[in-house]
């Protein structure tokens, strides 16, 4: 049986841009997130700032390319620009900003923005991943 295809370090295009589908954040997302983490919303209708960040990782799987062969999620920087409310519909746009080859795999730095239904950038940041190279 063949393995599902993967997107390796060599396949990543520097400055390549990917947009995810959008999703509406509901009261159920907030309740599930708060129950899991106990990171509660500060008021009714508010969305805890870490939740959209978590949702962008799943949205990132719903793009028309195979999943990135991530060996490790090394870290990230994240800035909250505008609040996100229950009922908002968000998607994310990411761009490969840096590609650095290492002996074992390579480092990819991705710039990511979360955008709402009015086209406003609500959150943005940079993610650093260690990605596998294509097996020889």
């Amino acid at each position: 049986m063949s393995q599902p295809s993967k997107f390796y370090f060599e396949d990543v295009v520097l400055h390549g841009v990917l947009e995810t589908p959008a999703m509406t954040i509901t009261e159920a997302h907030v309740a599930l997130y708060a129950g899991l983490s106990r990171d509660d919303p500060r008021e009714t209708g508010a969305v805890p700032e870490i939740l959209p960040l978590c949702l962008t990782t799943g949205l990132g799987w719903r793009v028309p390319q195979p999943p990135l062969a991530v060996l490790a999620f090394m870290g990230f920087e994240w800035n909250v620009v505008l609040p996100v409310r229950v009922g908002d519909t968000i998607f994310s746009r990411s761009r490969t900003a840096t590609k650095r080859s290492m002996r074992e795999g390579g480092v990819i730095i991705e710039e990511r923005e979360v955008i709402n239904q009015r086209g406003e950038i609500v959150h943005k940041g940079k993610f650093t991943f260690l990605v596998a190279k294509r097996p020889a």
Binding site: R38, P48, I50, C54, T57, F73
Partner: protein, 150 residues
């Protein structure tokens, strides 16, 4: 009613807190995969992960981040937080099913803003497991209300 929240003016640089521990379970990982839609095999395929360097499934890094955010609220009297404004975060090691994590936090900076009614508090955080290994660490900037009339 007295407001027990701690305002920008009350918080001092150098304050330290340590949260209770919380055991990360398989259920946490399954719920987080369902919530986030991140079904990466690292978190969902027990058989594949047996032959990985981790030897078993590991928790999503962002699940650890979310859990520490909740633990932080149990580590100290709540801040009068208006918003989480920035995060700088590193994943240092895996969190496995059954690991018990806790957060140790220290206030490293306070900055007033142009708006006189709020300020930014920077909190350095270290997430530790039951063996005191650092699994995650970073800094968070919180926008905190000033005491009225302060």
């Amino acid at each position: 009613m007295t407001d027990s929240r701690r305002f920008f003016d009350d918080i001092q640089v150098g304050e330290e807190y340590e949260s209770p521990g919380r055991t990360v379970t398989e259920t946490d990982i399954v719920i987080f995969a369902g919530l986030s839609g991140d079904y990466n095999i690292l978190h969902t395929d027990a058989e594949f992960m047996k032959s990985s360097i981790f030897g078993e499934r590991i928790a999503h890094g962002l699940l650890g981040l979310a859990i520490q955010a909740g633990l932080f609220t149990r580590a100290t009297q709540p801040y009068a937080t208006l918003a989480f404004v920035a995060l700088r975060w590193k994943f240092k090691g895996p969190v496995k099913i059954g690991d018990t994590i806790r957060v140790r936090a220290r206030v490293t900076a306070k900055k007033e803003t142009a708006k006189g009614d709020r300020g930014v508090v920077t909190v350095e955080r270290t997430v530790l497991n039951q063996r005191d290994e650092v699994v995650q660490e970073g800094e968070t900037d919180l926008m905190v209300e000033r005491r009225a009339g302060a």
